[in-house]
Amino acid sequence: MASASSSSSSTNWIMESGEIPHVLAVDDSLIDRKLVEKLLRNSSCRVTTAENGLRALELLGLTNGEHSTLNGRSKVNLIITDYCMPGMTGYELLKKIKESSVMREVPVVIMSSENIPTRINKCLEEGAEMFMLKPLKESDVRELTCQLMNLGR
């Protein structure tokens, strides 16, 4: 077995058995934030929500090169973000996350109410783990968290 390196960025997304996933959910719609939070909580996740990309980057500690405020003590295992948001889109947020050496290993899921193949491909090519169509259903989220728990095995 390889020696554990707890500070390596590649362990950011590997769940320890028994660990509760911590998800950062980003959406400008209050209703959708409430929904996704409940869906994730019902799938035994801890949830932090953000109403826009900038706030998400702040929470992840990616705005001014400081150490992550969230990942310091309660690391984020998954980021789920809406695509269409005013200001920074979900795609732009995805790019910023993938550009970061600290956060790039964290899986990012993009949600959208619109099923546009070019949009989906663009996100997947940029490194999004998955693309989900809104409105989200319980079965979608359950499958997502199942996959998350299985990552790294």
Binding site: I31, D32, K34, K38, K134, P135
Partner: protein, 154 residues
């Protein structure tokens, strides 16, 4: 009315809302998410929807009253409304928004104004019905009953 009768009345009411396409399966998702940890979940989400919708309708009316209509802005508002109505399962409102967006793209001001009226109408009808449904739920719970679990395909 006993609890059994109230539950049957609730089931008939919600069934009719589905049959008349005011609601779709997404509303059932909301009901399913409600549990002992969140017994007011549906009420809270629907209330948020009402507040949000009324704000959007005000913004839409204002945008369409302008001398020179900013169709991008109108479309952004309708997109938002389409999203929130889809999220709670308000199918009639959602469909009215889809039609509305097409006219925004065409920059057809008269059609847009007609669409706004249509969306308003759909919204106020579903709002009325949802309020009735939620009141029935409150009565059932107050009488010690539980809200029936609805599955699609009834």
């Amino acid at each position: 009315m006993d609890v059994g009768q109230m539950r049957r009345q609730w089931m008939d009411y919600i069934k009719s809302m589905f049959e008349e396409r005011f609601l779709d399966g997404q509303f059932l998702q909301l009901q399913q998410l409600q549990d002992e940890n969140n017994p007011e979940f549906v009420f809270e989400v629907v209330s948020l929807f009402f507040d949000d919708s009324e704000r959007i309708l005000k913004d839409l009316s204002f945008a369409l009253e302008q001398q020179s209509v900013d169709f991008k802005k109108v479309d952004a508002h309708v997109h938002q409304f389409k999203g929130s109505s889809a999220s709670i399962g308000a199918q009639g409102v959602k469909n009215a928004c889809i039609a509305f967006r097409n006219f925004c793209e065409e920059q057809n001001i008269d059609a847009c104004r007609r669409c706004l009226l249509q969306v308003k109408q759909e919204y106020f009808v579903v709002k009325n019905k949802l309020e009735t449904l939620l009141r029935l739920e409150q009565q059932i719970v107050a009488a010690g009953g539980s809200i029936p679990i609805m599955e699609l395909g009834f």
